[in-house]
Symmetry: C2
Subunit: 416 residues, 2 copies
Amino acid sequence: MSPNAEIICVGTELLLGEIRNTNAQFLGQELAQLGIPHYYQTVVGDNLIRLQRAIAIACQRSNLIIFTGGLGPTPDDLTTDAIATFFQVPLIERPEIIADIQQKFAHSPHALSANNHKQALLPEGADILYNETGSAPGLIWEPRRGLTLLTFPGVPSEMKDMWRKTAVPYMKSRGWGTAQIYSRVLRFCGIPESNLAEKVAPVFDLTDPTVAPYAIDGEARLRISTRATSQAEAETLIGTIEQQIKQQCGIDCYGTDDDTLASVVGELLLNRQETLAVAESCTGGGIGQRLTAIPGSSGYFVGSLVAYANSIKVDLLGVQSQTLDEAGSVCAAVAEQMAEGVRAQFGSTWGLSTTGIAGPGGGTLEKPVGLVYIGISGPHGSPQSWSYQINALPGREWIRKISASHALDALRRQLL
Amino acid sequence: MSPNAEIICVGTELLLGEIRNTNAQFLGQELAQLGIPHYYQTVVGDNLIRLQRAIAIACQRSNLIIFTGGLGPTPDDLTTDAIATFFQVPLIERPEIIADIQQKFAHSPHALSANNHKQALLPEGADILYNETGSAPGLIWEPRRGLTLLTFPGVPSEMKDMWRKTAVPYMKSRGWGTAQIYSRVLRFCGIPESNLAEKVAPVFDLTDPTVAPYAIDGEARLRISTRATSQAEAETLIGTIEQQIKQQCGIDCYGTDDDTLASVVGELLLNRQETLAVAESCTGGGIGQRLTAIPGSSGYFVGSLVAYANSIKVDLLGVQSQTLDEAGSVCAAVAEQMAEGVRAQFGSTWGLSTTGIAGPGGGTLEKPVGLVYIGISGPHGSPQSWSYQINALPGREWIRKISASHALDALRRQLL
């Protein structure tokens, strides 16, 4: 059987939008990596009838159904029950699961709940998918020939751990994931998706590899994909198109795959054996957070100062009170003085700064919400600054995120 | 007709996990707010046949179908086409849309793409859903009696803007959203979901309001929901249970609904007219970012210092070199000295600090990955510190996020 997967995410909290469906994203990435086609995802609430209907539809169009959620100890956790009743098989209490849960709670200040017993019930014939980091186990079950079900808890960390330790080896043992889909994502900044798409239009007519455009977080991306039996085989096909696009787009293409603006800036600094300090106002710590998300960032990132109060800009970064009085905290001169000040204070090669109006309040006709200045101070010449008017409609977090991207991109362009 | 919604999110990038489905979350929240029941979400790729199959299933079980994605200018944007062919209605070019796009591009450095014309095609009979912030318009269409379709672009900011400006008024004009679902979410820290569930178990048997437990980002939550015709009516039902749960759980319940640890800490500081400065090591800016995500945070947050290099801890925070030499940077004394130092440097009432091992490297038997110290320095007494061993399995970002939560929660408990 060649597998054809569907993901069913169970939970009323997903439908109500109380939590974001990160599990579907993770599983999508993993299935793509394994080369297992996956054409549908369904989200359904904690309701026995609707869950059974979703199972009925999935069984007709897919032969590998991956469930997340609904395995917990509480009465609204219904996934195992829905599966057993749909396939008309009784639930059997598994002593191995009780023993496993008891052992986990042995050293815990929290006692084993009576309702943890519910988690020990699995349909007759199903194999246990152990959960090393939580109490809810999952199952692997072939209720009929050519149909495989896998269930995972909704807690992302538990689900991921179980997926890697149990599901992936199982798939590989079934011989799935031999002809994998290989993709490369090219990441751009400074060019809108539709203009990028027009610039490279002929590549969309290719059939192998295929090229598809999309946009995320204000950045345009291109995905080059092919189905191949080895990395080397894929590389030949993907690499040619990748080089062609990169030549066409030049510096606007900042990286590939897992690269981020922060990781690309980090690599440039590491190669030059230079260091960076950041002075953040409107971004409030977001640039530091993005830089330090990269393991090993201590090799070039010395630190940052979030100068939220104006007094801190003056006292700790040496911004001139006169400049603040005359032009306010959101202007080119303050951005430059912040960059210069943080470089001096932290003794780094480069200083990078942001000051802007993130809203929702604080905007004026002259300086509207979304206006941001980026300052850079480096080893040569005077500090420089750039201003950006960011679309304010998506709100404060968007403005802060795009500001941080502009800052990292401005530094990247300086370092190139 | 009483509405019964389904969300269909279109995009191969969603199936491949390249982007996270934030649109489904937003629409789920909005539908809940409007009191429009919503039982299913489907994600399908950029494929005409499968998209039509998803439409066929949705039409059978739902009468209000909301699409996101697949409206862009590129050839793999197929939503409008799939809808028109499924209902066997021709696509008609709308001059109003061409005019609208031309006007938007008039002042842009980027030219109108030839493929923007594709965006002007809508099924005969459908109404245009204008997109003020982007080029792709959507549609509102009743292809047959009792079935309404709405389409939105996949770009979250454009989708949200259109939803609020056009879809919500449309729903209300249809008389939908009169008996709304009201919910209150109670947020907890310091107690696992299953223990919380056992502690408050009898509330799960209630039928109006209903109470459901779930967990997210290491925090347990309880959702209390009821269907009512007014906020006041809902308040009576929800408020009684809310008070009962809060009395049972005490300080472990830190807030409700949109409260965050950062907003709750901010409110406490504001009430006390006190200020906060933060010294971050392993969290790298994340605490500052969470605090400054709250509009008006400049009223109590003066700033933060990310002391990533040890030299910065010594030079700018006054951490003793001897302590670093003897005990390393991850220890109680360094956390306390950082908190004390940042409070002195920034002249704030409170100083909060983090130092820990976020991994993946850098762990030892004695100090494993996930070990984090939180320091607090306040107006009375000596600085204090607490240590946490965070589950390292979910990885670096999880450890950093939970560390920031522990830090904010430790300060919250001090302020109460």
